[in-house]
Symmetry: C2
Subunit: 382 residues, 2 copies
Amino acid sequence: MNNFNFICPTRVIFGSDTIQNLSNLVPINLKILVIFGGGSVRKNGIYEQVKNALNKHNISEFWGIEPNPKLETCLKAVNLIKRESIDFLLSVGGGSVLDATKFIAAAAKFDGDPWDIVGKRVYFDKALPLGCVMSLPATGSEMNCVSVISNDSLKIKRSFRNELLYPKFSIIDPKTTFSLPLAQIQNGIVDTFVHILEQYATVDLNTSVQDGFCFSVLKTVIKNAKIAINDPQNYDARANLCWAATCALNGWCNVGCIVDWSSHAIGHELSAVYGLDHGLSLAIVTPRLLRYNLKFKKAKLAKMGREVFELNADELSAAKGCIDEIESFFKSTGIATTLAQIGLEKNSVANLISERFKQRNLIAGEHENIDYKAVKQILLEC
Amino acid sequence: MNNFNFICPTRVIFGSDTIQNLSNLVPINLKILVIFGGGSVRKNGIYEQVKNALNKHNISEFWGIEPNPKLETCLKAVNLIKRESIDFLLSVGGGSVLDATKFIAAAAKFDGDPWDIVGKRVYFDKALPLGCVMSLPATGSEMNCVSVISNDSLKIKRSFRNELLYPKFSIIDPKTTFSLPLAQIQNGIVDTFVHILEQYATVDLNTSVQDGFCFSVLKTVIKNAKIAINDPQNYDARANLCWAATCALNGWCNVGCIVDWSSHAIGHELSAVYGLDHGLSLAIVTPRLLRYNLKFKKAKLAKMGREVFELNADELSAAKGCIDEIESFFKSTGIATTLAQIGLEKNSVANLISERFKQRNLIAGEHENIDYKAVKQILLEC
């Protein structure tokens, strides 16, 4: 096990009808900006619950954070914050709204070009405090200090992190996910699954507790995915998926481990260029990336094959079988797993994304072997 | 899954040679009291590492926290704190030293009789900040806000909790456990195992992620116990046991679950009256308590039997087999599992402890069925 330094100070309020707790969680004496996405919260009742809970608070609203949230939209919120002397941010929506809120919290206190926070990962020691109502189990953003922002003019989608950006609290009410469109549930399931894979399927460092935590999240996702898709109002299934999504990226599963994130690196490029949903991009890339890196990942994939998919075989067969099972699981949710299925031609995609890796000298993977050449090979298999 | 409200803001610094981080973690501008146990840290090198790391800090020392830490000893530290205007406490030792430090942190700011913090669980909203160097994987105190204190004159051992008592940081260096006496390793292994059991083996609420986390901790303990006992300098085994102990009681395994704690309730009485080590008291009580409560616990014990011990049987047989496996595992560490083995006569123990439950009207268990009569029956089987 590697040495590690772990902290996660976010308070999680989880369960049915928990949004009402906002009235105590959001500071009453501060000026609050509530940040929303495109408007689905008006239809599913979340907006009304938030407004009721905060009826004694001093709030303004900012609407319009898009999926793969854009720098340009975030900067509009920053202007509003400065104009209205906002003290506290409340994100109401999914991972995109929360990621945007994290960036806005940093940018509002940042001297200089705000894009440097992402583009150059410039360190900062000030940020507005923020809280969250999470309506979509997927990104895990509700219990970490990471954010992913897209720069539309540069066509770059990139993550950054800072401990100041842990939400002070995150409210997760599984009932708010009942009305989510199928595609968002599929994306969330794949996103959660791949978060674990990119933290687990690397080098075996004898991290027994953490590996078992990973298996638990994966088994939970597999067990509850079909139930949640077929029976959207099944509270237990949604609750288990919500909590699995949070645990998949709150650090509990990867402390002391070596992580990868190369599926995310390639996926972010696909989203930046073609606007692919994040989960969809991972469903297409991940199985091929695992096959490409089989020689590095076979020990842990074999262990996972035995523990999660009950494969009974030698190491290499169990590892290969595990990847096949992962791909089958993605397909079983109904999500697309090839570029052709979503109308993209693999040769042109492979050339374009590979060229972007080359130009920006991007290298990914726990063995730093995912360069522009590897990316091309991987995408040609997608 | 039940609704839950979870927070754990402690920073964990884990790994080899991490005590040196104290120099940055302990505030330089405050007056520090370092709290120690009986002196083993002088022999195993921890004291020297702490002193070196804090050579620029303004520190005083308090020595003499005993196992099952006593109110009377803690109050001496409180007096010292008031005399010397201490601002920050650093616990250096095992769970007893840390539990004492938590109580001292609260008592130093408490108006009124400090025992009320424990005896009446009086709420308090002030406490000194504290940090921790954890030298013994067992109680999990390093990442929770619970403390257990003994009142020698009343012969009462009791827990209390307050979010103010989360350590600001906890340093865990598995190497500091290499020199621990066998009995302390045995106690720690059983303590960790029973912490999970008391959170897991209750009512099945379809808490899939949490149940898997429990299995992971249990499997880790089973796998690494023998290695750690036979090869005390095996870093990986000690690291896995340390992290398992922390994860067993930091809340990650029990959010949204129903918990029990009746083995602890009976064990605390055995420690208060007969001075038994905490782990030892649990090794004796837990298997019999599980058998006594089999009808309530059989569903989850059967699931655990299948997942952890690979039992392949109907529910009742798998549940009974699971309890037998738990008892066998305890025995395999070399710890005593009956009162006779430690020279106590079960009839007199059963009568005395049962009488104490009766007098204080103590009731334990997730179904509140562990009263003085149940306690007598359970102890007669011990």
